[in-house]
Amino acid sequence: MTERPGPPIAMLAELTHRCPLSCSYCSNPLELTARERELPTDVWARVFREAADLGVLQLHLSGGEPASRRDLQDLVKAARDANLYVNLITSGIGLTPARLDALEAAGLDHVQLSLQAIDAEKADWIGGYSGGFARKLSFAGEVRQRGIPLTVNAVMHRHTIDDIDAAIAFAADLGARRIEVACVQFYGWALANRAALLPSRDQVTRAKSAVAAARRAYAGRMTIDFVPPDYYADYPKACMGGWGSTGLNIAPDGTALPCHAAATIPGLRFDRVTDRSLAEIWYDGAAFNAFRGHEWMQEPCRSCARRDRDHGGCRCQAMALASDPHAADPVCHHSAARSIVDHIISEQTAASPPFIYRSHKHQ
């Protein structure tokens, strides 16, 4: 048995899987939860109180598009009443000035706005929603006018990563204090679209230089966080800061997940917030205890000097690429399965295959 973990710091509440966009890189699962199965307002409010009691400080309201919930302002208020810091992760679509006024009055702390691309034609192609970019810009203007703190999340993949300088400048012009330049991680719909999304090694190298230069250029004005694509790394990312150690996700139907892709791991038993308290789920839930500590690790992780730094990397990626959730993350150059990642990289084609847009009709 592993020692008792500390309390979580962050909770991601996937309020809904509904979304007007249908981005090919969406991290939602292929099997999207239907509206009828979404938790009602009062249950979310109770979960927010339980989260605060458990030690959660940061609440990320996400989706899908959280604005697809008509009760979003009530949820924001409930979260602030529970003393949580409330971050809204949105595409901006569906948030009229009147709704934004209501969210502000409810105590919304911060907005993270996704940026599909820096021009309308490309952004609407990537998001699969005509007119979406114009609506996003109008929303960003409303956020700025009200002085709501803004982070831009610029999603990078083979079709956008060459525009990285322009994306950073774009975020600064929107008044963002922070930009997350996040290369797509391959889970959910993004995994299904990997061949259309994976950037080349040259693209990644150029992007890293661009970020380094931009950090100097924007020092003191805008913070730039960069999430590189882990397929080109030598060591894996410390996924979630370690399984069941700093954060948790709640799916739209109340399923409590150690991360957004955890349901792709066969054999894990997930609790629902409608059946058990969040504290019981966090400390005693089978899924949360599955990969805590070191006992579950195989070699080369178990005796690795980095095991407490990267925790063996991502369990879902080990499952997706090596068909074994206990294996080292295959992006690690010590992993026996690294050749699988190298093979994927070597199979890149000059022309991108078409996107598979996310939808509720996926088979």
Binding site: P7, I9, A10, D53, L54, G55, L57, Q58, H60, N83, Y85, N87, D109, H110, Q112, G147, I148, P149, T151, R177, R178, A219, G220, R221, M222, T223
Partner: protein
Amino acid sequence: MNADPVPLLPRGTRLHHDRVRDTMVLLVPERALLLDEIGTAILQEVDGKSTLAAISARLAERYGAPEPDVAADIRAFLDGLVAQRLVDYQ
């Protein structure tokens, strides 16, 4: 830059008592910074009205420490937060 600016917690940055861990934290966009006693003492003086010199004088008196040392520590601590856009100087 102004030699004696007035530091201010901008919107989106909040001092918060974490009752579960029994510590003060600075809640900022998408992060929570756990504060030690000194960080807490400094940020509790950041009221959007007091200059760095005024804050330094108050803390130097409270802790019985030499004011130039206290001022240098405060400046270094707040400069780090300003660089991350978590505190503003005005």
